[in-house]
């Protein structure tokens, strides 16, 4: 922009013989069209971006800023917040045994996912990568629960884990294990594990699909080379496949953690967070406090805590663990 502007001034300042004057006029005209074209480009950029910026700013960014602001107030959500209490809500948050337990529940779910769900998904992905008749059908079945809503899944499993008429307890009684037939969703010491089972039922297929795609992206020559060098299947898996699947595995861990931080629907329908907060998550606590007790200021503080947990985890993970895998990670986020 400045370059073309100065050109134009130089052209103007040179009242020379006729031929030169015409040339200067042409030059001036060209600079003018170029400037106009740039202005038009900027207009295009602005107009094309405007709808996205407007709706994203208003409905995603603004709410997060409002939550941050509201978290410093004692506020019931009606009228503007006036009762400023500084960090009072956050102090209360870290003294709140319910919130501290929310954090432990999240941690438990993440550990269980890392130890059971993801390895099982990985094993199934390796299995579906074999030459196996009907593997397309298997894949279709394993992945199907992913498309069902968490609500539908949770209602179905409420029935399955129901103490009297449920499938699980009936099965246990039949095979002579009555002692194990418990109230799966009402026993405080068990309920988190039951929730984990239902989450795994719904999401193991997603992780399996991610691993399968990752596995198929490994060139066959690499595997053949390992086989020629005399590596056993296990050695090939351990020293070739697993390292090459690294990026995919890191993305799948990333998705599990972010998903756990904002877990709501499944728990809300399965248990409502009960019995006595035994399966409560941060999102459930936030919902109860904000929409049932109208302590919007305090609930906003919980939102902000979730925001920072996601942000810090996301940034650290991207900085130190995934780095180059980001595109894939963000691609897979949309399904959640």
């Amino acid at each position: 922009m400045p370059q073309s502007a100065s050109e134009a001034t130089v052209a103007k300042q040179r009242p020379e013989p006729k031929a030169a004057g015409v040339r200067a006029g042409q030059q001036q005209g060209r600079a003018y069209t170029r400037r106009r074209r740039r202005a038009r480009t900027w207009l295009t950029i602005a107009l094309f971006l405007l709808p996205a910026l407007l709706i994203f700013g208003l409905l995603v960014l603004a709410p997060i800023i409002i939550a941050a602001y509201a978290s410093f107030f004692n506020w019931n959500g009606f009228g503007p917040p006036t009762d400023f209490i500084g960090l009072g809500n956050f102090q209360r948050l870290f003294d709140d045994p319910v919130f501290i337990d929310d954090l432990w529940h999240g941690l438990l779910l993440i550990v269980l996912t890392l130890v059971f769900q993801l390895p099982a998904a990985l094993a199934l992905a390796m299995l579906l990568n074999q030459r196996l008749r009907g593997r397309r059908i298997y894949r279709l079945i394993f992945f199907a629960p992913y498309v069902l809503s968490e609500v539908v899944t949770a209602v179905l499993f409420t029935m399955i884990f129901s103490p009297e008429t449920g499938l699980v307890n009936n099965l246990l009684t039949r095979i002579g294990l009555e002692s194990l037939a418990i109230a799966w969703l009402a026993e405080p010491s068990v309920v988190m594990y039951t929730v984990f089972l239902v989450i795994s039922w719904k999401y193991f297929g997603l992780h399996m699909i991610l691993y399968l795609a990752g596995r198929q992206a490994i060139p066959e020559e690499v595997m053949e080379a390992a086989a020629i060098d005399g590596a056993s299947s296990w050695e090939t898996f351990r020293h070739v496949t697993l390292p090459l699947l690294g990026p995919t595995i890191r993305i799948s861990i990333f998705l599990s953690v972010i998903g756990t931080i904002q877990l709501f629907d499944m728990v809300y329908v399965l248990t409502g967070g009960g019995p006595v907060h035994a399966s409560e998550t941060m999102a459930i606590t936030m919902f109860q406090v904000g929409f049932r007790q109208f302590e919007v200021g305090y609930a906003s503080a919980i939102s902000i805590a979730m925001f920072f947990l996601s942000l810090i985890f996301g940034l650290l993970y991207q900085r130190y663990v995934i780095r180059r895998d980001v595109e894939g990670a963000v691609t897979a986020m949309g399904g959640r």
């Binding site: 409905l59 199934l124 579906l128 298997y138 069902l148 399955i160 795609a213 939102s303 399904g335």
Partner: protein
């Protein structure tokens, strides 16, 4: 792989054990679903005595009663309207932005793009409270737009990222020749880029409709009036209302699953492409 070098009996043995594992895993997925379908054909008495066996006699009333209630169809319609509007809005708005992000160089582009990308990490749970307050100010509670607009906003990041990747791969020469032929930027976008991007548009549409269809928290806080509920709200409400009428709840859940599973059987490929960034081989 190594299969070729194995003797035939060993290969058969291996194949059998692989199938055993696959069938067991498949059963874990399918048994709960079949339990639901068959359970819906039972009476509560039958369900208590024998949740496993086939119904005796078959009782279709649970299903027919749900299907003949106008509320079920209204929820289905609401979910469909909200889903379709969300897809059109998300893909339209995101395609415009992705076009600029992919094909124009300007100061602040990467920063702006990062802001959208970070939005990925914050689905509704984080923003739901202030979002509710905002929607109340705009008078959008109990209004389908109160669900559609936020869903568009939260769907933008993923859609923009996927579409930008696709738009980038379309050769610049194409745009130059279109411009020389007198095509405006919007003309190029509308008449050339979008038709070429059809596979990518299908992928992002599938992602958007699945997340809209399954969304629960947002309609839960926005829609008080049962007239406006979506299917997940209906399912949850039905369970609360008929808590002890297991068979009827099962029938309702099964019917609520059918549209999603039908859609899955048609669009599975696009869903997989969207989630993995590339399709899976047969």
């Amino acid at each position: 792989m190594t299969g070729d070098r194995q003797t035939k009996p060993r290969r058969i043995g291996r194949s059998i054990s692989l199938h055993t594992v696959a069938v067991l895993a498949g059963a874990i997925v399918i048994v709960p679903l079949v339990f639901g379908v068959i359970g819906g054909f039972k009476t509560n008495g039958q369900l208590t005595v024998d949740p496993f066996g086939l119904p005796d006699p078959w009782v279709p009333e649970n299903y027919t009663e749900v299907l003949s209630s106008s509320s079920f169809w209204r929820l289905l319609l609401n979910s469909t309207v909200i889903g379709v509007a969300t897809v059109i809005g998300t893909v339209g708005v995101a395609a415009l932005a992705a076009f600029v992000f992919a094909r124009y160089a300007f100061r602040g582009r990467e920063l702006l793009f990062t802001v959208f990308a970070i939005g990925l990490m914050f689905p509704f749970a984080v923003a739901i409270l202030p979002l509710f307050v905002l929607l109340r100010e705009f008078n959008l509670l109990n209004n389908p737009l109160g669900v559609i607009l936020p869903q568009i906003a939260f769907g933008l990041p993923i859609t923009i990222i996927i579409l930008r990747g696709f738009f980038r791969n379309i050769p610049a020469a194409l745009e130059e020749s279109a411009t020389l032929d007198g095509c405006s930027p919007f003309g190029f976008f509308w008449r050339i880029l979008l038709p070429m991007a059809r596979p990518a548009l299908a992928t992002v549409s599938v992602l958007a409709i699945v997340s809209s269809w399954n969304n629960f928290l947002l309609p839960l806080v926005v829609m008080n009036n049962p007239e406006n509920w979506t299917l997940p709200l209906g399912v949850q409400q039905f369970q609360t209302q008929y808590a002890s009428d297991y068979a009827r709840v099962l029938a309702y859940v099964v019917l609520a699953m059918i549209p999603a599973l039908l859609f899955y059987s048609v669009a599975e490929r696009h869903l997989v492409t969207g989630l993995t960034g590339g399709s899976i081989k047969e």
